[in-house]
Amino acid sequence: MSRFRIIIIAVAALAWIVVGLLVARGPQPEIIVPAEVITKVGFLNISNTMISAWAAMIILAVGAFLATRTMKLIPSGAQNFVESVIEFLMSQLEDIAGSKNARRFFPVIATFFIFILLANWMGLLPFFNAIGKTEDIGYHLFHEIEEHHAEHKPFDEEIAHASGWLVDDTGIGLVRPNAGDAHFSLGASPETPVSPEQALDKYVVFLAQTFVDFDPEDHGAVDDGHGGFEVTAEMLTAAIAALNADPDAPKLLDGDHDHGVASAALGDELIVGGIDFPGQKLALIIPLFRSVYSDVNNTLALALISFVMVEFWGFRTLGFSYLGKFFNFSGLIPFFVGILELLSEFIRIISFAFRLFGNIFAGEVLILMLTFLLPFLIVDIIYGLELFVGFIQAAVFALLTLVFAVMAVEHHDEEHEGHEGEAGHDNMESQGTPGQ
């Protein structure tokens, strides 16, 4: 490749990154491991991963219905596509499990594969993790301070979920590029507790810093030795004045001793009953859609289904002699091996659940972080990688369930022979077509 061409590519890549940073940079992501609850129906929490799972189910059901509504002997269009997918999966299954077992396991294994694949790839759509309901972190922080005040309980640790973005939206919102972000820190620990009154002062100064570029150092902020600073009466008065000067900045609402938090620095001169955000809010967008398997509950559910199906096939084929695999009293070593086998069955559930969750959650975090750090070019490459990971993880889940199912339905005697080096052991080979 000529030097000129390399320079052109490098400049184009750099320009792509710069444009991304200017127009498409996401706000600093708030990584929340558990799936966010969107709404509650009775005792049931409806999380964003559940909504995505339902969306995937609807797409599959409607897609299958439409593709097979008018089936023809010589397929075309959607029917052709669906048939080729099914044929491909069937050939892979037959290759590993043999034709008899393949037909038996196919509905479950193919459902696993297709559903996981669709769920993983759907998670890469642009509106995932981008559109959601606004959760007011500004109100949430004041509410926490109010609660501690009512209970006369000092803060001995930082407030959870104390970070947010500056957003205009209320209700349903979109994660805007280049939204400012802010993190409220109390500097609290069990050794250095912070009273609710001190927390209020720190919060007012934080609001002034975030919304009106108030600089505490101009008002004699001195490090208190824990990375924070002591809020003085003069600093607090200046911060309130700065907030009041800007019509769009948050406003402190008057309170009284029964309903409100008094200031530590100003005493009864300042009792705050609430905070009003007339302009931008400090909020987080809780996404309505999030990748289904970035939630460990969903991967665990799938792992349990896989476990139950494998055991079901094992019992159905071998009857109660299936238990002989785990409880073998013919000698000490077989007994020990059986117990290990039994433990392995349960470890598989954890292994299944965390493999899928780990891969998908890590991919999601990676994309969110890179959208913040280096949007466009690098994220595009990672999207490609995530397409591959989504596919491979669907294949891993389906294939391992299949292999464990094949191992479960094989007779113990066959297995024993196999351990002694006989070729007959291996169902993956003996029952399969010679695909090598």
Binding site: Q92, I347, I392, L400, E429
Partner: protein, 86 residues
């Protein structure tokens, strides 16, 4: 080496990735179980050592059981796993 058949790389890749996670899970679960029992009984470091031994045994025992069929199926017979990249 024979040319891979259509999609022939998927099964071995997926299988090995699955086996890798199985090893890791066994060891991590063994250690966490040991730590938990230690904190419960105060017999530190007895259970963490037992947990490590159990985790490793499960990982190696279960791993061999998972990999033997793999080597037979994908490993190219007598050459073991040398042809694993089919």
């Amino acid at each position: 080496m024979a040319k891979p058949e259509r999609g022939g790389w998927i099964a071995p890749t997926a299988y090995l990735m699955g086996a890798g996670w199985y090893f890791a899970t066994c060891i991590v679960v063994g250690i966490l179980l040991g730590l938990w029992l230690d904190s419960l009984t105060g017999l530190e470091p007895l259970f963490i050592l037992l947990g490590i031994v159990l985790g490793l045994t499960l990982a190696i025992g279960g791993g061999i059981r998972m990999l033997l069929p793999f080597m037979k199926r994908f490993g190219g017979g007598a050459n073991g796993a040398s042809g694993g990249g089919e």
